[in-house]
């Protein structure tokens, strides 16, 4: 039983990270039907920006939690700007081209950003300061670190914030309108290019937060760290019903759980297999994803 509870906690933590990354995929897909393969790289860039800022601020003698808070906000801002630049350069010129062109552009951007990170930051892993993240509770076999609580809490906070933004604000209404019909929403005075840029920025900001949490949780960041979680988060977004915010959360948690339980009860080598078997199964029986039925109301 303790074993099960511990694996459940592991699964929720991992799922939370996937969910945060998946939100970016889902939002961008919802608004321009583009699968942004460069999204995993925003996650990596956020992780790197986080470690650079935390190290710098810690050297200035700030309290570790203050360092973390400031770095989190600044990294999210940085990745938001980066995403807007990428959108302007690589996707906007192709807005009216075929979908394949935009998809290839996204793949190219992913490779470009990953190599950019490698060339500027080096090939070695960059260690995160571990002082902030140590400590936790322990009951017998079950242990919960403060970091796991922090990850789940921050994920929940960002999700609630995102929901408020999308459903309660003018920008959110404009985003939903644009996703339904770009031309009509433009006719009623919505600047759809601006809304698309904002969507990219929000998605990348969330990915940056995930990047920092992963860096803190696992202890280091690497230039190629965005690829695998990017694919998993994409799977999570599709699983939940791509274009659906709640779906991304559910999908992320499912992928995280399946992975952890497959590794815990079968063997570590099977975890990816099971995660993707679930994905294929859902797509086969429910092509729109788990939360796909109300896609028109809630997709951004």
């Amino acid at each position: 039983m303790e074993f099960f509870i511990q694996q459940l906690i592991n699964g929720i933590t991992l799922g939370g990270v996937y969910a945060l990354i998946a939100l970016g995929y889902t939002m961008v897909y919802g608004i321009i039907q583009l699968i942004n393969f460069a999204h995993g790289e925003f996650f990596a860039a956020g992780g790197y920006m986080g470690v650079i800022l935390i190290s710098y601020l810690a050297a200035q003698g700030l309290h570790p939690y203050a360092c973390l808070g400031i770095s989190l906000v600044l990294s999210m801002g940085y990745c938001a700007l980066l995403a807007m630049a990428v959108e302007r350069l690589a996707y906007k010129p192709l807005r009216h081209a075929s979908r394949l062109a935009a998809l290839l552009s996204a793949l190219g951007m992913s490779i470009f950003l990953q190599n950019g990170l490698m060339l500027t930051q080096g090939v070695y892993d960059k260690p995160y300061p571990t002082e902030i993240t140590s400590g936790g509770f322990e009951w017998g076999l079950v242990s919960v670190s403060y970091m796991q609580i922090f990850i789940v809490a921050l994920t929940a906070f960002l999700l609630v914030g995102l929901n408020v933004l999308v459903f309660k604000t003018r920008i959110g209404r404009a985003m939903r309108a644009t996703s339904q019909d770009k031309i009509m929403s433009a006719l009623v005075g919505i600047n759809s290019n601006r809304i698309i840029a904002i969507t990219f920025a929000i998605g990348a900001g969330l990915a940056a937060a995930a990047g920092i949490m992963v860096g803190l949780y696992y202890g280091s960041v690497n230039y190629s760290m965005g690829f695998v979680p990017g694919i998993k988060a994409f799977a999570a977004a599709v699983l939940g019903g791509i274009g659906n915010i709640t779906g991304a959360l559910v999908g992320g948690l499912i992928i995280g759980m399946v992975e952890i339980f497959a590794a815990g009860y079968i063997s570590g080598e099977y975890k990816d297999v099971f995660a993707f078997i679930i994905l294929i199964g859902v797509l086969y029986f429910r092509p729109t994803g788990i939360m796909g039925e109300n896609v028109d109301d809630t997709r951004v």
């Binding site: 074993f3 511990q6 892993d125 696992y218 280091s220 339980f261 570590g268």
Partner: protein, 383 residues
């Protein structure tokens, strides 16, 4: 008009490239060309870059000593294998096209083995500084040499340490399914059973994983005396060490020669304290090593990595052999290689007829943020 312009530019660019090649070929007669093959990108890039840099320093040292008579210059062609068998074979073909006569590399056994067969067809000498799988030298290739040790010596050495020094009763083994890491982990499992140590479980993770919480929860539940970590990459090893400590696993941690790297301690910091790793004995106080270390730091700004000294020695062995033979003719260089007996930065180097240079595995312990020699597997004594 624009298209015509682009076409002209493209043709001009191609023309320049061809001209460049022609220029190189003209002086090929006096230039000694050697290649390196190692993962320069991807998760194993840390070790891969050490291999390239170690070779570069060997060339620098030889040039400072007056070079090799008959050759005006020594050129290095570094190739990226990404630890991928297909890319390694492509790299080998590329090096053959460049007409290199000796290759230092590759790193992963899974890419060294196929690449060596390609190089063997053209009689190119290959010296691996880091591939420890027994098969590398067991296939009877005449031009294959190995500067590091062998897994079938490493696994028993590790198990002897577990039994004689740590007195462990049970062990949990994790590997990441590469030719190297899995082969070694299986060797450890076999040797442990033979020595009467219980193997509680032998689990696998995937390459590139960052989250080990699931498998480590299993380790925690199994309560082994020792957790044996056989991963292809030190940064991944560091992640596993951090997560094991945070989860409260109190088993002794032990890794192998791919996990052994100063970067592991840099990332895992205090969490790596007290961890053991098997690696070839390198006497860091020996004058040869000191000399090499100074040069390495001057050039790269870093301390030598795990395989830097082995790469330096591999390249040195080849260059000294060419110097002794006075030619790049593979058969003559091979004879000269076998006749070598010199003190390298890593160890006393003498290649046996099958290309091996002997293993000298030592158990290192992380003490105060450095790998300190702890137990010698050859003599069975503590340092």
């Amino acid at each position: 008009m624009k298209r015509v312009f682009m076409l002209v530019v493209a043709l001009a660019a191609m023309g320049l490239m061809l001209a460049g090649c022609g220029g190189e070929n003209e002086k090929a007669g006096q230039v000694l060309k050697i290649g390196t093959m190692s993962p320069l990108t991807g998760p194993y890039a840390a070790d891969g870059n050490d291999i390239r840099q170690g070779t570069e320093i060997a060339v620098e040292v030889i040039m400072e000593q007056g070079g090799i008579s008959g050759f005006t210059d020594i050129m290095i062609f570094p190739q990226d294998t990404a630890c991928d068998p297909k890319q390694a074979v492509a790299a080998a073909n590329k090096l053959i096209n460049e007409e290199v006569t000796g290759v230092v590399g590759a790193y992963c056994s899974s890419s060294t083995i196929p690449a060596s067969e390609t190089l063997a067809e053209e009689d190119v000498i290959m010296i691996t500084p880091g591939s420890t799988n027994p098969q590398v030298t067991e296939r009877g290739l005449p031009y294959m040499f190995r500067t590091c040790g062998r897994d079938d010596h490493q696994a028993p050495a590790a198990v002897r340490f577990m039994k004689d020094v740590e007195k462990v009763q049970s062990v949990f083994i994790i590997d990441d399914k590469t030719t190297y890491s899995q082969g070694l982990a299986e060797g450890v499992a076999l040797a442990a059973k033979a020595e009467g140590i219980t193997v509680l479980d032998h689990d696998h993770v995937n390459q590139g994983d960052k989250d080990f919480s699931a498998v480590l929860t299993k380790v925690k539940a199994a309560k082994p005396d020792l957790l044996y970590i056989s991963l292809q990459n030190s940064a991944t090893g560091a992640l596993m060490v951090i997560q094991a400590k945070r989860m409260g696993i109190d088993a002794t941690l032990m890794g192998q020669d791919a996990v052994y790297h100063p970067k592991l301690i840099e990332i895992a910091k205090a969490d790596s304290d007290g961890m053991y790793c098997t690696f070839g004995a390198i006497d860091k106080d020996a004058p040869k090593y000191k000399e090499f270390q100074t040069k390495y730091k001057e050039k790269t700004g870093n301390n030598p990595g795990a395989y830097s000294a082995y790469s330096f020695d591999s390249a040195m062995a080849y260059l000294l052999a060419v110097k002794a033979a006075g030619t790049t003719d593979p058969a003559k260089v091979r004879d000269a290689m076998l006749a070598l007996d010199f003190t390298g930065a890593s160890k006393q180097l003498k290649y046996a007829a099958n290309g091996d240079s002997g293993s000298n595995y030592v158990v290192y312990k992380v003490v105060d943020g450095t790998f300190t020699p702890y137990w010698n597997s050859l003599t069975g004594e503590m340092y």
